[in-house]
């Protein structure tokens, strides 16, 4: 659920801002942010739902260990959001359960 972010931004060393889309909404973020940090800054408390129970999960370690921040970034599912730095215009969506292997993805795999 989008809402007031549970995180707030302190005064930053530089004044660079870029815009990304989080769940279809434009959000101003910093170039040093990871996609997972952008998600939290945008007020999304959960990054994905569990592929087993459907329970909401959120970034937990932010250092590539826990795989809880799996996101769909620019249309690519199952990406570790904490390991990807934001880029202007990046499209960030939450991962809903297990991703479905669609035809366009399967087409890239040699027989």
């Amino acid at each position: 659920m989008p809402g007031a972010s549970k995180f707030e931004r302190l005064a930053c060393a530089s004044n660079d801002w870029i815009q990304v889309m989080v769940e279809g909404q434009p959000v101003k973020v910093r170039p040093g942010d990871s996609a997972a940090a952008a998600l939290l800054a945008a007020g999304q408390s959960a990054a994905r739902t569990s592929a087993v129970s459907g329970d909401p999960r959120a970034p937990y370690c932010l250092m590539g260990i826990c795989f809880e921040c799996l996101l769909e970034i620019d249309g690519v599912p199952n990406v570790q959001g904490c390991m990807v730095q934001v880029a202007d215009g990046m499209n960030i969506r939450r991962q809903q359960g297990a991703p479905v292997l669609n035809d366009s993805l399967a087409a890239g795999v040699p027989a």
Partner: protein
Amino acid sequence: MSAHDVDLAIIGAGPAGMAAAATAAQLGLKTVLLDEQKGPGGQIYRSITQPAPADENILGKDYYHGRSLALALKNTSLDYRPGTSVWALDQDLTLSLSGNGQSQRIRPRRLLIATGAQERPVPFPGWTLPGVMTCGAAQILLKSSALVPTQPLILAGSGPLLLLIAAQLHRAGVAIEAILDTTPPRHYLAALKYLPGALRNLPLLAKGAGLLAELRRAGIRRITGVSELRALAGPDGTLGQVRFRQGKKAQTLSATTLLVHQGVVPNVQLSRSLNLSHDWDQLQQCWRPHTDSWGESSLPGLFVAGDGAGIAGALAAEAFGKLAALQIARQLNVISAQQRDQQSQRARRTLNQQRAIRPFLDALYSPAREFLLPADETLVCRCEEVTAGELRRLARDGCPGPNQAKAFCRAGMGPCQGRMCGLTVSQLMADERQVPNSEIGYYQIRSPIKPLRLGELADSAH
């Protein structure tokens, strides 16, 4: 591929990897430094080339020490490749890399794994709720993004990082509702016998005492002897409350964010994937790859340095990385044994001094039993949602170890590949079967160590 591509490949650009890379490149070794992150620093010096907060007092001078290490990388002929992950290692030290959506293989003469530590997984009821994250995660948000949690904020756990992040958040103007210290009171007595060793590192002891004094002066409520930690969901399904016990008194506090910490443990994914020899560290309650005093592992030519070889902190990692690079230079006949010994004196002294305080810290901050052997209802494998109770039942039914348990209940088979449950599963099964951890063993880790797309895998086969 028979020829070697480089003299030395280093995985990880934290303090050990950066120090090793600078040393090796200065000695003329053809060196490649591979790192998953977009900038150097590892986790301790994360974002050190572009720290986000304007106020440098928040993170403190120990953090900005990392600048000198990152600067040394620029002054050399080093091939530094950020944004590159290593997804497989072969016995002949060939690495399979993935970066910018492309896969590549490199064969070095020597390999140094400097992948550092991860926070110890802290299973307790409710730890999967959104709103619960590690103290390390909060520190990364602070360093890279200048993002801090809003109120009400609770910190819970044990260890130096818990106090450090509390102090840093306080300096940033963040109100902390309470620090729940789960250090069992008897640990203070147990740690006393290691105090003489700790006195060899007075600066670090003074830093710890300084942090405690800073938190006290700030009037932050620190509740000690906390047990039965539990996170409860609020109406929106995310963290709402934190429940715990202090002595006989059960308490419940409202919380938006709960930051947890129970120390750090070596990241053994790569060393395990090669079946290197690992030792069980009883005091640190974790596995570490077996190395000699220069960091060479059970596989000749493969070195492990820094916290990945046993937790000793950033300054120790920096020294250890330098030692490993010097020994590698000697093995490749770039320097003599005498030159190696001369150039390693200071680093060796630093390493010994930093290690001297560890038994004291490890005894004091060893996790309470409830986090090592959680209650039956607690989810242990977050990915596949396997509880402690299910793992105990499998052990009772005759399942001999973690790899067999994996086949029965899928613990360790999710996306994190056992990083978050490996230690707990081994300890639970060892406890239930009443055998030592060294006997119960650990997950067999297989490549790809990091996820990669099928297209990349197909490319690498060409």
